[in-house]
Structure formats: structure tokens, C-alpha cells
């Protein structure tokens, strides 16, 4: 009897050992992607990687906000099995780096990336994020409506307002830009810059300055007077269908949506009817945001860093970047923007507006800080107040001052004040 027990135990032990070895030999990684055009492109291409590398990729894709939440929860509780993930450098970069959730990428060749792009991927001397996608702000407009009204494509804020007035009718909103509080902060940024303001300067909140408040008033006046009904509840996902349905004449938002606006499966407009132009200049300058909206990183907690690196190298390769460009995704690598074969197939409007933004743009579209979510909501309150009063609110200066104090408190809480 005792022997039988011994034998069973031995057999079980051997089995455990074998299965352990087998487990160690499975070449599998867990990858988290965003529901973003580049995430979709990767999803479709991953079988190629699996075939060539022999590594099985377990894939999850989530909407951007949920992706941040999911990664944060897993990393903070030390329970993550994620190896590689898409990440938003400006939204979560500082927080993830501070908490030590990114693996430093020592062996990666970053020569193909512009310096300003690398500035949000690098902390100190180490780089943690491979930039994937660049976005800049543009003006989308309806060629047909502008032509019918005899309006030229606006190149200044004054012309933009005049055009919005001319094009606005009962059926079509003359102008639209995000009005939904925190979500609108990125799209307001170019207006603030073009008026000569900033959100943060040297680790201090400064969006209560006269230029910044003037910009918020202008944004509120345009959206409140010529914007679609209920614009304070609208982000890009609400405005895009309206534009595609022909209900908006001009729309300022990120360049990333161009592919979807002209996609015949998604729009009622003919591709010829949609124009794309540089953001109009403000009273002070013309400096649209141009940002690294997405990057890719390896999790510090990953136990398969070599496999993860193999995947990362493939997913951020020049070849895939070229494929992204052909799908109207504006990639961060410099070389694909110099490749004539690629550029021949990319919309010239995208090429031209990128060149302008790369020359004159500002590399941030939000307050760049760890507590960015809360700071965006605070600035968002000003946007809603301004839109609701069509830019005339008597409280705006006072409100801006209070919100600046609160954002400075957040900066102090996280040790980023005046840094």
C-alpha cells in the first residue's frame, strides 16, 4: 500500500516536471492593442509574424481609455502577464514611467525617429517607448459647400469665423470642434498656442493667461454660435458621423480621422467633397500640435522580454510603417515620409499638412503631466462654460484662475511642480 502511494507520488512529480518544462518551451506572448487603425492593421498582420517567428501571440484589443485602465490595474496589482502593449506617451507615459511599468529599450535603433518625437519617449537617458503614430491638428472642410458660398479656405481665425458665419444654416453647422470637456482639451490646444498661450510652462499651469483665456473665448464663441446642437457633449466620435452625414461644413480635429472621413463605406460624402487644410493662424502665430499619439512598449513585469522584443521590433518595423501609411495612418518614422513610392499613394493633403506641422508645430496637445486626466477635466470645465455662453462668460477669468490653482496642486501632489 505504502509503495503504491510512493509510486503514485513519483509519477505525479514526474508529470509536473514534464509539464513545467513543456510550459517553459511554449513560445507565447500576450499583447495588448488599442482599437486604433494601426492596432487593426497589426491584428491582421500578426499571423505573418507567428508563422515566421514561431511565437504565438495572444491578442487583446481595447478602446483607448479602457486600455489604460486595464494596464494600470494589472501593473499596479503586480498581477500582469502582459508582455507588449500600445501606449499613449502624452496620456500615461509619465505615470507609467514613474511607477516603473515600462522596460527600458536599450537595444533598439531609434535613428529613424525625429528628435521632437523622441522627447516624449525618453526619460532621463533611457528610452521606454517606440513611437508609432504621429497626429497633428488640421481643418477638414466641405469643398462643395465652400465653393457654393464663394468662401475661400480660411487661413486665419478671423477668416475661420467669417466662413463659419457664411456656411451656417438651419441644416448644416458652419463649424464644429470637440466640446466635451476633457476630450476637447487636445483640440483646444492649437487655438491656445495660436493665441500665444500654453497649458503648462516650466511645470506651472498658465492657462489663465490673457492669450489662453482669449483662445478659450474664441473656441467657445465659434462652437457655441456655429457648432452643432449639443456640442458640449460631443467628442470626435459624435462629430465625425455628423460630418460624414453632411451636417457640418468645417471641423478642426486630429489628422488621424482623414482615412475614415473619405472611406466610401463610412461616409455619405463623395471623396472630392472633403478638403483638408492647415489649421488657420491665430493672432500671435500658427503652431498646430503635432504629437506622438501612440507608441509601443514592453512591460517591466514581462517574463519573456526576449520574445517581447522580437515582437516589438517587428510591429514597429519600417515595413509595417509603410503599410500603415498606405492605409492613411500617419506613422512616426521619418523614412516612410521620404519614400516616394509610399508618398505617391498617400493623400497629398496629409503630406502637405504634416510638413507644415513638422516645421511650425508644438509637440504637446494637453498638459503633459502624470495627473493629466484630472487636469483635462478641469480645463474642460472652462471649455463648456465658454461654449454655453458663446464666449461671453463674465466668470471665465475667475474660473480659469481657480482651475490653474487646482492643476498646480495636482502638480505639487505628484512632485512635478516647477519641474
Amino acid at each position: 500500500m505504502r509503495n503504491a502511494v510512493k509510486r503514485t507520488l513519483l509519477a505525479l512529480g514526474a508529470l509536473a516536471l514534464v509539464s513545467g518544462v513543456a510550459h517553459a518551451q511554449t513560445r507565447e506572448i500576450r499583447v495588448m492593442l488599442a482599437n486604433h487603425p494601426y492596432g487593426e492593421l497589426l491584428k491582421a498582420a500578426i499571423p505573418e509574424f507567428e508563422r515566421s517567428s514561431g511565437i504565438k501571440v495572444n491578442l487583446e484589443s481595447l478602446q483607448e481609455g479602457q486600455l489604460t485602465t486595464k494596464l494600470t490595474t494589472e501593473f499596479a496589482t503586480n498581477s500582469s502577464s502582459v508582455d507588449v502593449f500600445m501606449t499613449r506617451p502624452l496620456q500615461e507615459g509619465k505615470m507609467f514611467q514613474k511607477n516603473g511599468w515600462y522596460e527600458a529599450l536599450t537595444g533598439y535603433d531609434f535613428a529613424d525617429y525625429p528628435k521632437n518625437v523622441m522627447s516624449v519617449a525618453t526619460f532621463g537617458t533611457r528610452t521606454y517607448i517606440v513611437p508609432l503614430v504621429t497626429e497633428w491638428q488640421v481643418l477638414y472642410y466641405r469643398r462643395d459647400l465652400l465653393a457654393a458660398a464663394g468662401v475661400k479656405v480660411p487661413t486665419t481665425f478671423d477668416e475661420l469665423e467669417a466662413a463659419a458665419r457664411r456656411l451656417n444654416s438651419g441644416d448644416v453647422a458652419g463649424f464644429a470642434s470637440r466640446g466635451k470637456g476633457g476630450a476637447a482639451v487636445t483640440q483646444l490646444s492649437t487655438y491656445v498656442y495660436n493665441y500665444g498661450g500654453l497649458y503648462l510652462d516650466g511645470g506651472v499651469a498658465v492657462f489663465d493667461s490673457k492669450p489662453a483665456v482669449d483662445a478659450i473665448r474664441f473656441y467657445g464663441r465659434l462652437n457655441g454660435t456655429y457648432g452643432p446642437k449639443g456640442v458640449t457633449a460631443m467628442s470626435w466620435e459624435n462629430i465625425m458621423p455628423l460630418f460624414q452625414a453632411g451636417k457640418v461644413a468645417m471641423w478642426t480635429d486630429a489628422s488621424v480621422f482623414y482615412g475614415q472621413i473619405v472611406d466610401p463605406a463610412k461616409t455619405q460624402l463623395s471623396p472630392d467633397a472633403v478638403g483638408i487644410a492647415n489649421m488657420p493662424a491665430g493672432p500671435r502665430t500658427n503652431s498646430p500640435f503635432i504629437v506622438t499619439s501612440w507608441g509601443m512598449s514592453i512591460a517591466k513585469q514581462s517574463k519573456k522580454k526576449d520574445l517581447a522584443m522580437q515582437f516589438l521590433t517587428w510591429a514597429t518595423s519600417r515595413e509595417l510603417a509603410a503599410r500603415g501609411m498606405l492605409a492613411n495612418i500617419t506613422m512616426a518614422r521619418s523614412s516612410v515620409w521620404e519614400d516616394r513610392a509610399v508618398l505617391a499613394k498617400v493623400n497629398p493633403g496629409l503630406v502637405q499638412t504634416r510638413a507644415f506641422a513638422a516645421r511650425n508645430g508644438y509637440p504637446l496637445d494637453r498638459p503633459y503631466m502624470s495627473a493629466v486626466g484630472e487636469a483635462r477635466d478641469l480645463i474642460g470645465e472652462l471649455i463648456i462654460e465658454s461654449i454655453n455662453t458663446k464666449g461671453t462668460s463674465a466668470n471665465l477669468e475667475r474660473m480659469a484662475k481657480q482651475r490653474v490653482d487646482k492643476v498646480n496642486e495636482l502638480l505639487e501632489d505628484t512632485g512635478e511642480f516647477k519641474r
Binding site: T72, K98, S370, E381, G415
Partner: protein, 292 residues
């Protein structure tokens, strides 16, 4: 047969043990852990480990205007939604308790909102409420009425959300009250009728008092649920425009998963727990009184 004197002697403790462990792990532990977190300053954006700060997070959160507004909004949403649901739900139950042609079809139709997923309901209602291309404004303007902004404006967002809650959850009250009505004895009603009471008097003085404990049960269940409403509001407005539809639960979510201030989020959730617990106790006391 194996005899174990220990098991025999402790049978009454052994059998409920798995259930008790289950309850402790899945219900008591999270509540206690949340309570523990509320005494810390755990903030993921600072990159620092949590430290014990006593009641400091309570002092900061509970005095914030945004918290007080969310608290008021939670009560307003709950009271109006549940009151409307109770009135319409009981009235519908009284109608359905009579026999008429098509009664079973009406009962089945009534159940449909209950089985719909709240997030899907939210998405459909958002399309319905869209100020530019939505059906709701089309109906209003067709009737010669001015269009409304529904969930897109601070002044109309809470009533518009209450409407969705009423649409979805009134049938639950109807269903519970209907079951209560089916269990009532017919004799008091007949006695009242013989005494010459009108139909309205019978409902007011005989049926309703008899079914009141059941109505209160339905109201307690709805009340607890409405105080914690998350899915419909999150799917439809995310608490906006601005914070105009931010209830305690939504605020707790934003503090934890958008601001990553875990300690302060825990304070909000403890406050919500106290509110729900207090309201339930209050209604249970009322119920006891109505029974005696």
C-alpha cells in the same frame, strides 16, 4: 461507514462553512479593503507607495463641491426615478390584475425592457436623443414643439436619464406588485363591494393597504439599485456634459480609473455604501411600521 465524532458534533457548523467562506471572500473582504484604502493616500500618478493618512482623504473629498453636487444628484436621480416608477408600476399592475383581451401579450411586452442590456439600452437611447439626427427631436418638431437637447445639456440631462431608467425598470415594480396582488384574498374586496364602496375606494382603502408591504419591498430593491446606477449613465453621458450627470458611483469610477486617486476613490465608495445602507435601513423601518 466512517464515524467521525468531530464531524458529527460540528455538523451544524461544517455545512454552512463553504457558503460562509464564499461570502467572506467575495463580499466582506472587498468592503473591508475599500475601507482600508480610504484611510490611505494611494495615488498612482504620484508613483509613491500608499501611506496611512487617517481621515485626511475624507476631509478633502467630503468637503469638495463636486462631491456634494454628486451626492445631491444621486439622491435627485434616485428619488424622482423610483417615485415615477412606483406610481406607474403600481398603476400598471392594478390594470394588469384585471382580465382583458390581450393581457398575456401586454405582460410579455412589459417584460422586454427588463431583459435588455443596460449598455445597449444606453446606446440606443443616445441615438434616439441625438439633437441633430435623433428620433426624439424629430417627433417633437413634427408635433410643432421646440427641439430639446436631452442628454447634451446640463439642464436636461438628469430628466432624460430618469426617463431611460423609468422605461427600463418600471416593469420590475409592476411584476413584483402583480405577484403580490395575485396572493391577496378576494374576501375583503367583496366585503367592501357589498358595503357599497366604489372601485376607487376599494383600490384606495382595501387593495393598496393590503399590498403595501409588497410595494415597499419593490421600492427598496429599486432604491438600492437606482442609488448605485452606473451602466446607463456611464454608457450615455459618462457623467457629462461637464459633471452634470455625475453621480457618486460615476465619480468613484472617474477618481479610480481616470484620475488614479485610489484612496480618495475609496472615500467616495464608502460614502455611497453608507448612503445605500442608510436608505435601506430607513425603508425597512417604514416597512415594519406599515406591517404593524
Amino acid at each position: 461507514m466512517i464515524h467521525s465524532s468531530f464531524a458529527d458534533r460540528h455538523l451544524h457548523r461544517l455545512f454552512p462553512l463553504p457558503a460562509m467562506i464564499f461570502v467572506a471572500l467575495l463580499m466582506v473582504f472587498p468592503v473591508l479593503y475599500t475601507l482600508f484604502l480610504s484611510f490611505t493616500n494611494w495615488n498612482l500618478t504620484s508613483g509613491q507607495p500608499p501611506t496611512f493618512v487617517g481621515l485626511r482623504s475624507y476631509a478633502r473629498v467630503l468637503t469638495e463641491p463636486r462631491f456634494l453636487e454628486a451626492l445631491g444628484r444621486t439622491f435627485a436621480f434616485t428619488i424622482f426615478a423610483v417615485a415615477i416608477e412606483a406610481v406607474i408600476g403600481v398603476a400598471t399592475a392594478l390594470i394588469l390584475n384585471r382580465s382583458f383581451v390581450g393581457k398575456s401579450v401586454a405582460k410579455t411586452l412589459l417584460l422586454l425592457p427588463l431583459v435588455a442590456t443596460p449598455v445597449a439600452v444606453g446606446i440606443v437611447f443616445n441615438l434616439f436623443y441625438d439633437p441633430t439626427i435623433g428620433l426624439a427631436n424629430f417627433v417633437l418638431t413634427s408635433l410643432g414643439l421646440p427641439p430639446a437637447l436631452w442628454v447634451s445639456h446640463a439642464s436636461t440631462v438628469i430628466p432624460a436619464l430618469i426617463l431611460v431608467d423609468v422605461w427600463q425598470w418600471t416593469p420590475m415594480i409592476t411584476l413584483i406588485v402583480l405577484a403580490g396582488l395575485a396572493g391577496l384574498s378576494e374576501e375583503p374586496v367583496e366585503a367592501a363591494r357589498i358595503d357599497g364602496a366604489s372601485e376607487w375606494q376599494i383600490i384606495r382603502f382595501v387593495t393598496l393597504p393590503m399590498v403595501m408591504p409588497v410595494i415597499l419591498t419593490a421600492v427598496i430593491l429599486r432604491l438600492i439599485d437606482a442609488l448605485k446606477t452606473f451602466d446607463i449613465i456611464f454608457a450615455m453621458t459618462g457623467g457629462g456634459p461637464g459633471y452634470a450627470s455625475e453621480t457618486l458611483n460615476i465619480m468613484g469610477f472617474k477618481y479610480s480609473f481616470e484620475y488614479f486617486r485610489m484612496g480618495q476613490a475609496a472615500v467616495i465608495l464608502v460614502a455611497l455604501f453608507v448612503v445605500v445602507f442608510g436608505c435601506s435601513l430607513l425603508i425597512m423601518k417604514l416597512r415594519e411600521r406599515s406591517e404593524t
